[in-house]
């Protein structure tokens, strides 16, 4: 630019410096532009990813837990609607006033209010806080009607595990409950982090938890910087847990529970041919729904301190001496050893000497002359003592093993015990004492160290009833699409003649006058039963007491009364069902257990569950329409 100017020297210097500044400005702007290019073009993809990470939250969608059915499709564990009220703090006008309004419909205890207040404080203001769960329809409806006047109150329908048969399957199914801190440490499934999520804590719910749980669904939501959800971007439902079908017949199970009312007892009913467990009952029980909803301390303490151990699944975890029911195994041990002639008679005078010890028969004045069949029928101890004198403990142990004694029968429920089939080695190792002949005598009548569970007893009986096949118990019929395999049971290698003889003895027990369970005979077309009773002494009977006359069970405190056993099968001609009955501290097997055994067997035979068509979940699935949707938590 050229123009006339008075201070041209100053102007020229100024314009030079201005030009320099112009260059500076241009380069700075170029620098800014290249930085923008760098951030937005070269590194743009990376920042786009980071922006998405900022705004998109992955949320889990809880899958529906697999349901559990009995063999005929009766629902044993279901997911029911859980009517809930939640509160969003930031939307309320006044939190306390709103809670008052809710309390008018759903009572809120002081401690509950405290917990709500704590949670509101801890969580961010737009996060819903659970006020009350498991409302009745009436409460839910009243809250819904009032909802427009109660800003911040959200009435929600979630789902919760429900056990319609309550305690009657408590020991089989177990229960689900809230996830504990320890569960979180041991298990890294992100589902467990969901508020209100529940996992299996006992029973099949625990052992099959992963299969029943299903897989997590995901939903992507857009959130703002404060974590508030703006909208859902997409959603993928999880796979519902697999449905479980059990071998149980719930009708039978109900009958058994009704029959056992008030007793501390256990009953196992098993299909002799395929091992299907049709009934599996232990009393007393507890209501698993209490655990799912959250058990009160008082209720928990009551369960824990109850003498009758309602928390113990006596069918698989209650170990007792088998008592005289073990004579089934003793008889076969003797017969198979070849050293016992079943027709040979032994005179029972009520007691027998071995060295300087006296071994007593349960019948004070003795049974007189006994052959094997009558010894079983009358449950004569002296006969079996005589037999034990000639046999070794290994004969009993070997036969006991064949019948599954001392073996863990895994039917899927955690906590099963294996019982104990004692041997010389075992005694040396665990008691540091040598095996003596007296031990063998005690073992032969099912006392001493022997331990079995009601399940062992049922398996033993089923194996005998099947004619000597190693039937294995089975509780899980199918899981999802998978049916559990049914393999034909292996032969136990017993001589048919001897098996038939023992079975005959058992038929006599129930059906012949003088049998220990005579009078429990089943009457009616096609109804018949064989059995064996057993009585387990809990206390030691002193010489003095024996002399004065043994105190009757009714006169003893509950804890010191005998355990009563009954095992049986029916129908007698073509055995299909085996049962075992234990009545803890119920008195002798004949009086306490056999009547229950008879009633249960009659019911089993009348229902005949094994010959009725079973439920097929795959067929059911093809009939059901539409996918089962999950719940978002």
């Amino acid at each position: 630019m050229k123009f006339d100017i008075r201070d041209s020297a100053r102007y020229e210097q100024f314009s030079r410096r201005t030009a320099i500044m112009g260059f500076g400005t241009a380069s700075i702007f170029a620098g800014l532009a290249s930085r923008m290019y760098f951030l937005q073009v070269i590194e743009g993809e990376q920042y786009r990813q980071m922006a998405d990470d900022n705004r998109v939250n992955r949320r889990m969608v809880a899958p529906l837990r697999g349901r559990i059915f009995d063999r005929f499709g009766v629902e044993l564990a279901s997911n029911t609607q859980n009517l809930q009220v939640m509160l969003i703090a930031e939307d309320t006008n006044d939190i306390n006033e709103t809670l008052e309004d809710i309390a008018a419909v759903v009572p809120l205890s002081a401690s509950r209010r405290q917990r709500i207040a704590r949670e509101i404080k801890r969580k961010r203001k737009f996060v819903p806080v659970m006020i009350a769960e498991n409302l009745t329809w009436e409460q839910f409806a009243r809250i819904n009607v009032r909802a427009p006047d109660l800003p911040g109150i959200v009435a929600n329908i979630g789902d919760v595990r429900h056990y319609p048969f309550e305690g009657r399957l408590a020991h089989v199914l177990g229960y689900v409950a809230r996830v504990s801190e320890r569960d979180l440490q041991e298990n890294d499934d992100p589902l467990l982090q969901l508020p209100g999520f529940r996992i299996g804590k006992s029973g099949l719910e625990k052992s099959l938890d992963l299969e029943l749980r299903g897989s997590t669904g995901t939903s992507h939501v857009e959130v703002n910087a404060y974590g508030r959800v703006i909208r859902e971007l997409d959603r993928k439902e999880g796979d519902a847990g697999r449905d479980l079908v059990l071998t149980l017949d719930m009708g039978l199970q109900n009958f058994i529970y009704d029959r056992l009312e008030g007793k501390s007892a256990a009953v196992v009913v098993m299909d002799v041919k395929n091992g299907d467990l049709l009934g599996l009952a232990a009393t007393p029980a507890f209501d698993p729904n209490d655990f799912t909803r959250g058990l009160s301390q008082a209720k928990w303490d009551k369960l824990r301190t109850d003498d009758m151990d309602p928390l113990v699944n006596k069918t698989i975890a209650g170990q007792f001496a088998p008592g005289s029911t073990f004579k089934i195994i003793s008889a076969l041990a003797g017969l198979e050893s070849g050293q016992i002639d079943p027709d040979h008679t032994v005179y029972c005078g009520g007691k027998m000497r071995l060295g300087n010890r006296e071994f007593h028969c349960w019948k004070r004045h003795g049974h007189g002359a006994m052959n094997l069949r009558n010894a079983i029928k009358n449950s004569c101890n002296v006969y079996f003592f005589e037999m034990a004198k000639r046999l070794g403990i290994s004969d009993y142990a070997e036969m006991g093993k064949r019948f599954g004694i001392g073996e863990l029968h895994d039917i899927g429920i955690p906590g099963a015990r294996e019982g104990l089939m004692p041997t010389g080695n075992w005694k040396q190792a665990f008691r540091d004492e040598a095996w003596v002949k007296g031990d063998t005598l005690n073992t032969s009548i099912g006392q001493g160290f022997l331990l079995v569970t009601p399940l062992h007893q049922a398996v033993m009986t089923a194996r005998l009833a099947s004619g000597g096949f190693a039937v294995k118990p089975r509780l899980i019929k199918s899981l999802g699409e998978m049916a559990s395999e049914l393999e034909a049971p292996e032969s136990m290698g017993l001589t048919k003649k001897w098996v038939d003889l023992v079975r005959e003895g058992m038929i006599a027990v129930v059906n012949e006058p003088g049998g220990t369970a005579f009078g429990k005979k089943l009457r009616g077309k096609g109804l018949s039963m064989a059995g064996k009773t057993g009585t387990v002494q809990v206390r030691r009977i002193t010489r003095e007491e024996r002399a004065a006359g043994v105190t009757k069970n009714e006169d003893l405190p509950w804890r010191r009364r005998d355990h009563g056993w009954f095992v049986g099968f029916g129908p007698t001609e073509a055995p299909r069902y085996a049962i075992s009955v234990l009545v803890e501290h119920g008195g002798g097997g004949s009086a306490a257990a056999a009547p229950i055994g008879r009633d249960v067997m009659r019911e089993v035979l009348l229902r005949d569950p094994s010959s009725r068509p079973a439920y097929s979940p795959s067929l059911e699935a093809s009939l059901a329409s539409g996918p089962r949707s999950g719940r978002e938590a």
Binding site: D7, F14, R17, M21, G22, M36, Y47, N54, R55, D91
Partner: protein, 396 residues
């Protein structure tokens, strides 16, 4: 009509002033301000509530509408100032500087504390709250220009000539630093320094000041407030503290980077609409613009800024009086510093200091300062042919 050499005492007729108004400058300023208002409209977003009420993306409330009113008012101020004779501004230079200095001192003693720093002062009679440091940005340019104009052929590099100029710069900078407001203090120092540079300060002194600046920065570090140190440290390594002080820088970079070439679309910026971006209506508005309008939008804004800078520079170069040249370039320097510091800050090139993006960021005071300054540039333009004798530059 051309002006003849030596028309010292001439007055420019009012009508001619109106005709001389530089409409291109006004148009560019308006364009930038409207972009800013559009961004402020996009900023006002309410998210979806829990009940699912629809989101309202974009709103004139609360920022865009107010900014529009201020801009309208500011544009009138710009024109009014532009029409005032440049010689009057020169006469007012020292008194304005003096008043600004007194107000800064008033802040020191009676200031209203806001956001951890004393930056505001309430005028006792009128009841207006003022930010004297903003006034000083203009007043210092005027005072320096007047002083240098008065030097005539005297060499600014002589100690005798330089010392008063340095005092004019240092005095307000120190007072502002004590508020504490490091950003504005640096702006004042840098702005003053640029004016001295344009006035012909010798390269030797410029180099010396450069060395002094480095040494001063090292010593000055000791006197920084903790939060200021923290800002510098975080700037050096923002990812070290992504949820604390580094959060702003990181989120700004994410916002800008994710915008890409063409942006996510107006009202569609996730970083800004979902509130990940802090201070998006004030200091970080450029990141929001870059996120929604992309590299193209950002470059377009920078080009508009460059047009103003180029216009201002050509106005300075066409002025027949040194006062006017220095005022125009002084205002341009301040303008440039605002732009550069703000954009470099949000791009993670310099530490986070509270400097708004001129004409775009929400804020009345900053906008008034800029428009007032541009008004002076307009005045320089309109009165470019007026010569002002050196002698008239003495103290008033």
């Amino acid at each position: 009509m051309s002006f003849v050499y030596g028309q010292t005492g001439r007055e420019v007729p009012f009508l001619q002033k109106l005709r001389e108004i530089n409409w291109l400058l006004i148009l560019t300023v308006t364009a930038i301000s409207l972009i800013g208002i559009a961004m402020l409209y996009s900023t006002s977003t309410t998210p979806v509530g829990p009940a699912g009420e629809p989101a309202t993306r974009g709103s004139f409330d609360p920022w865009a509408s107010r900014q529009l009113i201020r801009f309208g008012f500011g544009l009138v101020v710009l024109l009014a100032i532009g029409l005032v004779d440049i010689r009057l501004w020169m006469k007012l230079a020292y008194p304005a500087y003096g008043v600004a200095l007194i107000l800064l001192l008033a802040v020191e003693f009676y200031g209203v504390t806001g956001m951890g720093a004393q930056r505001w002062v309430e005028l006792p009679v009128v009841g207006i709250t003022l930010q004297p440091s903003e006034i000083m940005k203009i007043a210092m340019v005027l005072a320096l220009a007047r002083y240098i104009h008065g030097l005539g052929d005297g060499d600014i590099s002589h100690l005798k000539s330089l010392a008063p100029a340095v005092v004019i710069i240092i005095l307000p900078a120190v007072l502002v630093l004590r508020q504490p407001d490091l950003g504005t203090a640096l702006l004042l120092l840098a702005g003053g320094f640029i004016i001295l540079f344009l006035a012909g300060l010798s390269w030797r002194i410029l180099g010396g000041v450069g060395v002094l600046g480095v040494v001063g920065a090292i010593i000055g570090w000791q006197f920084l407030q903790d939060y200021q140190k923290q800002r510098v440290l975080t700037f050096l390594d923002p990812e070290s503290d992504p949820l604390g002080t580094g959060y702003h820088i990181l989120q700004a970079k994410i916002a800008m980077g994710s915008g890409g070439v063409f942006g996510k679309g107006y009202l569609q910026g996730t970083q800004s609409q979902l509130n990940f971006l802090p201070e998006k209506h004030t200091d970080f508005i450029f990141t929001m613009l870059s996120e929604e309008l992309g590299l193209m939008g950002g470059l377009f804004l920078l080009v508009l800024y460059l047009m103003i800078l180029a216009r201002g520079t050509s106005i300075a170069l066409s002025s027949r009086n040194h006062f006017g040249r220095l005022v125009a370039m002084g205002v341009m320097a301040t303008f440039l510093l605002y732009i550069v510091i703000n954009t470099a800050m949000v791009m993670g090139l310099v530490p986070v200091v509270g400097v708004p993006l001129p004409l775009v960021s929400y804020g009345g005071t900053a906008m008034m300062t800029i428009l007032f300054g541009l008004g002076l540039v307009m005045s320089v333009h309109i009165h470019r042919d007026i010569e002002i004798p050196v002698t008239s530059a003495g103290f008033w």
